[in-house]
Amino acid sequence: MNIPAQQNSDAIINGHPVSDEIIRCEKLTKRYRDGNILAVDQLDMTVHHGEIFGLLGPNGAGKTTTVGMLTTLVVPTSGQAIVAGIDVVTHPALVKQVIGVVAQTNNLDRALTVWENLYYHGRFFGMSARESREAADRLLVEFRLTERARAEVMAISGGMAKRLQVARALLHSPSVLFLDEPTAGLDPQSRLALWEILRKLHSEGQTILLTTHYMEEADAICDRLAIMDHGHILAVNTPKGLKESVGADSIVTISATGNLDALSKLLLERIEGATRSQRVDSIIKLHIKGTTGVLPKVVSVAEQGGFNITDLSVTEPTLETVFINLTGKELRD
């Protein structure tokens, strides 16, 4: 899944070549009225056809606000956003025809059953009674919800509710599917099940934009990622490209007692292949390139310097590393 989105070179419609872009934001900005907070600041972003694009960042980074603007529920303060060729600000009602939205919270219609949630959604989007009925039945099968078709939506599990939300968002065949923190609050099994669903949709060519603060999720299912913090996009690339941008083969994580800044400096000077050393709160992240078997050396250098190492581990660079590199802080708070 680490390959960039395929270029849709064959996307010719009505004899006209169609741009590969399906979402384009230019200087998209949102300043909330209350508190004067700049939630999203001059965001430029492009999403291509058929890719799973992820917005990765901590809570408050502006991911949900960005999705809110693209899905018409948040009115941008300035800038422009085009979704499937339609301007979000000037034609919100038209944009709603071509997007499917899965909110972070369970916003299923509690007055309706599982099946009715799908059926009436289809009717909202202009499907005939028969079309909508058939689509609802089909999606219940695809999402393994048929047995609960007549259940009240409050009676189904969190994982099922999320699947139903995804099914509902897909019912009218949207050009772009938006998911805001799709697996937040789900148990591990439901999370894997949802990833499978998203991968399957991806293989069928569905364009998907999701937000997440789980780097494993971003790594596992996204073709491309934008790393966000404080309303800005700090980097956009494939997960692989982002990890390669760190410029290290392995990351040594060191917990120790004493002056960690001094230890950090010492390690960078003395360890062969060390490209960067960074203290993040109470640990040190030492970036190593082109060398293996570095752990014993780290221990001896630290001991010679009078430091007492309490914990030591070595990993490949992760998106966490990328985030720390870009922001100087950990993704998890």
Partner: protein, 291 residues
């Protein structure tokens, strides 16, 4: 009809519908959804509609005459019948009023507050304002049904010898009912968008109760002229801020020959209230949904 070809998602390219066509269809589907929900809860809806008018009529027009409790400024079947006449109009008005609040404000307060379940309807392909108007239309339909249910009770349930003196003015009745239904549903929209779910209790205490007791349900507005301080009929003037007073007085005109507020006051004020509450309600709805 203008069509825009969009680039395809998973499927083959498809043309999107014009905004007006999509909006029309979506609006109809929203109503269909609301009516389905109404049909599901029809038993509760009817019971809820009946309980208040039934209690009012039962206590005032059946129990009171039976136990000899004086009403209508005196005693005896004549006074009781004249009070029954007053009450029938009041009860029908009150029922529609309550319906507007219960059918629109309460569900909306919840859908906005905790569950955000309004979101899927807001994301239907129509302007957000039309979603709000759809709520008012669905609420009005419920108000209409409750008027039909309540009217027979109000005119039938009473003690032996007590007879409301009814005389239906159809032109007034048939224009007043829809106008009232829209006005009260729009009020419900306004309240539902302004009040958080945890303040619903407050809404009943400080808005619904005063509206009920100072809305002319139990007395004609014209008789309030007798309550004066220094020659000024203060209560009669004060209750004019209450939307219900125009409704009860309108129904008094529609259903009885008793004295009532002039219709040339009732209609313009009701129309103005419709416009005011619709405007404020739609504005509130947009504010709650869009940020």
């Amino acid at each position: 009809m203008k069509t825009i070809t969009v680039t395809p998602g998973a499927q083959s390219p498809r043309a999107i519908r014009s905004a007006s066509s999509a909006s029309r269809v979506a609006f109809g589907a929203l109503l269909l959804r609301d009516l389905t929900v109404l049909k599901k809860g029809l038993g509760i809806f009817i019971a809820r509609t009946l309980v208040q008018p039934f209690l009012l009529v039962f206590v005032f027009l059946y129990v009171f005459p039976q136990i000899g409790q004086g009403i209508g400024g005196g005693g005896g079947p004549v006074a009781e019948s004249s009070f029954a006449t007053v009450l029938v109009a009041g009860v029908v008005a009150l029922s529609i009023m309550f319906q507007g609040i219960q059918a629109v404000a309460l569900p909306l307060a919840n859908e906005f507050g905790y569950t955000k379940e309004i979101e899927d309807r807001v994301l239907a392909p129509l302007p957000v304002s039309l979603v709000a108007i759809g709520k008012v239309v669905a609420g009005s339909i419920q108000g209409l049904i409750s008027a039909l249910i309540v009217f027979p009770i109000a005119s039938i349930v009473h003690a032996h010898g007590v007879h409301p003196n009814l005389s239906v003015h159809w032109a007034v009745l048939l224009t007043l009912i829809p106008l009232t239904c829209i006005m009260t549903s729009a009020l419900g929209l306004f309240l539902g968008t302004r009040i958080s779910p945890r303040n619903i209790g407050l809404m009943f205490g400080f808005i619904v109760l005063p509206i009920t007791f100072l809305g002319g349900t139990y007395y004609p507005w014209t008789t309030l002229a007798a309550i004066k301080i220094g020659g000024f009929s203060w209560l009669q003037a004060l209750v004019c801020v209450n939307p219900l007073i125009y409704v009860t007085e309108g129904f008094r005109a529609a259903l009885t020959t008793a004295p009532h507020m002039q219709l040339y006051v009732v209609y313009p004020v009701l129309i103005a209230l419709c416009a005011l509450f619709l405007w404020a309600g739609i504005k509130g709805f947009n504010n709650r949904v869009l940020s």
